[in-house]
């Protein structure tokens, strides 16, 4: 019995000292780590929606999003920000997506990925210009047209990393669609700049559901794409 208790107590003392020391170090570094993550997140948010100055987080139908406003009056949104998650080749890729009010994409920023070095990591690689070429392809595209070239779309996939390219593209599309549906159901009026206005008192007004027929078809193709991965 004694041969168990003595080593046990010794180990406990070592563990206690180590634990206390680590607790102290953690209390020093955790505020710095949190600040770093917040800075990275805010940088991504500002990057994808440069016109916005004021950000207002909200949740509709369990879809989390941030509305960006040009000034503190918070009347006309200049766009929305959502986070998309896609299953890539070796990681869940997290992308911050900036959407204009007409649901074209303002810009995207991949904030987390752990794909194959030299292949999937090219998604965040900068060759020319201020941001990675892969992310830049999304600028100004309408969300429901997004698809990689192998799926008949016009997003050029990364050589040797089709799975990564497809995961990002489809996750952005799905996230934007979810937000569009969530907002569409809760707002009486979905305004499309330059287009005809929806009349909330007329349920048959086709302008209220400008792409409802299209969305039905999209649903099928999305399910099959997900199943294929």
């Amino acid at each position: 019995m004694k041969s168990i208790i003595k080593p046990g107590i010794t180990l406990m003392i070592y563990g206690l000292i180590a634990g206390l020391g680590l607790g102290y170090i953690n209390s020093l570094t955790s505020p710095v780590i949190e600040a770093q993550e917040e800075v990275a997140r805010m940088a991504a948010i500002e990057e994808v929606l440069p016109e916005a100055q004021v950000f207002d987080p909200d949740t509709v139908d369990s879809v989390q999003y941030i509305t960006g406003y040009a000034d503190s009056s918070e009347i006309t949104p200049v766009g929305y920000i959502i986070t998309a998650y896609g299953n890539g080749f070796s990681s869940t890729i997290k992308t911050v997506v900036g959407l204009n009010p007409d649901f074209t994409i303002s810009a995207i920023e991949i904030v987390y990925q752990s794909e194959t070095p030299g292949l999937g990591t090219k998604s965040v690689e900068i060759t020319d210009g201020p941001e990675p070429w892969f992310e830049m392809q999304f600028d100004d595209k309408l969300y429901n047209n997004l698809a990689v070239d192998k799926d008949g779309g016009d997003i050029k996939s990364i050589t040797g990393a089709t799975i990564t390219s497809r995961a990002i593209t489809n996750s952005v599309k799905i996230a934007a669609k979810e937000l569009k549906l969530a907002l569409g159901e809760n707002n009486d009026m979905v305004t499309i700049p330059g287009g005809p206005q929806c009349d909330p008192n007329n349920p048959d007004d086709p302008n209220c559901h400008p792409d409802s027929a299209e969305v039905e078809v999209q649903e099928d193709s999305l399910t099959s794409e997900r199943g294929g991965e």
Binding site: P7, T10, L22, Q36, A40, S114, T116, G118
Partner: protein, 200 residues
């Protein structure tokens, strides 16, 4: 004289990677670029030096039956400190090295040196041994990383070396490139060792 030998043996004669063949997993995995190799080498060196020093200091207080769990506790503590500090102050490097920082705990070099050297020698010699081994490990990782980065991306430490017409051989920054380059480095180390032995 002994102290100097404690340091220099880690560079070639008892180089942890090339001669002792310890810690191959992080060596192969993180050396896709020179900066990753340097970061990993420095992190492992810090842990190695500190754990060697502490193990050597507490050795009279360690019952031999439970020395391994105690050594691991010491090592794990310093690895966690390294991980927290890197996440706080070098987030980009910390993300690039990812899981391999926490995995320093099970890096055989560190437990190997604690068991084979620090638990038998004075704190000063253990510290120097840790420094030497860490330096040898870091040097190997940087050379391996720089070589793979040069062939695989045309850069070293992110600086363009090869001309614009150079087509990078992607294979070199993928796992097969790690094995191939390490093989050549081990062969080179053997050759140097043979040469120094003949001269001696």
């Amino acid at each position: 004289m002994k102290i100097i030998k404690d340091f220099t043996k880690g560079i070639l004669v008892e180089n942890p990677v090339l001669v002792l063949a310890l810690g191959l997993c992080p060596t192969l995995a993180v050396t896709s670029s020179a900066i990753n190799g340097l970061g990993m080498g420095c992190a492992a060196t810090f842990v190695l030096v500190m754990s060697n020093l502490i193990v050597s200091l507490i050795k009279p207080l360690v019952p031999s039956r439970i020395r391994i769990p105690i050594f691991i506790t010491v090592i794990a503590t310093f690895v966690t400190i390294t991980k927290l500090v890197m996440a706080a102050y070098t987030p980009a490097l910390s993300e690039a090295l990812g899981i391999f920082i926490p995995l320093i705990v099970v890096n055989c070099i560190i437990l190997g040196r604690a068991e084979a050297f620090a638990s038998k020698h004075s704190p000063l010699r253990s510290l120097v041994d840790g420094l030497g081994m860490g330096f040898g490990f870091t040097l190997t990782l940087v050379v391996l990383g720089a070589f793979r980065e040069l062939i695989g991306s045309g850069t070293i430490f992110g600086q363009q070396i090869m001309g614009d017409n150079y087509k990078p051989a992607l294979l070199m920054i993928l796992p097969p490139g790690a094995f191939l380059s390490l093989g050549f480095m081990v062969a080179l180390a053997r050759m140097l060792l043979e040469k120094t032995r003949k001269e001696a």
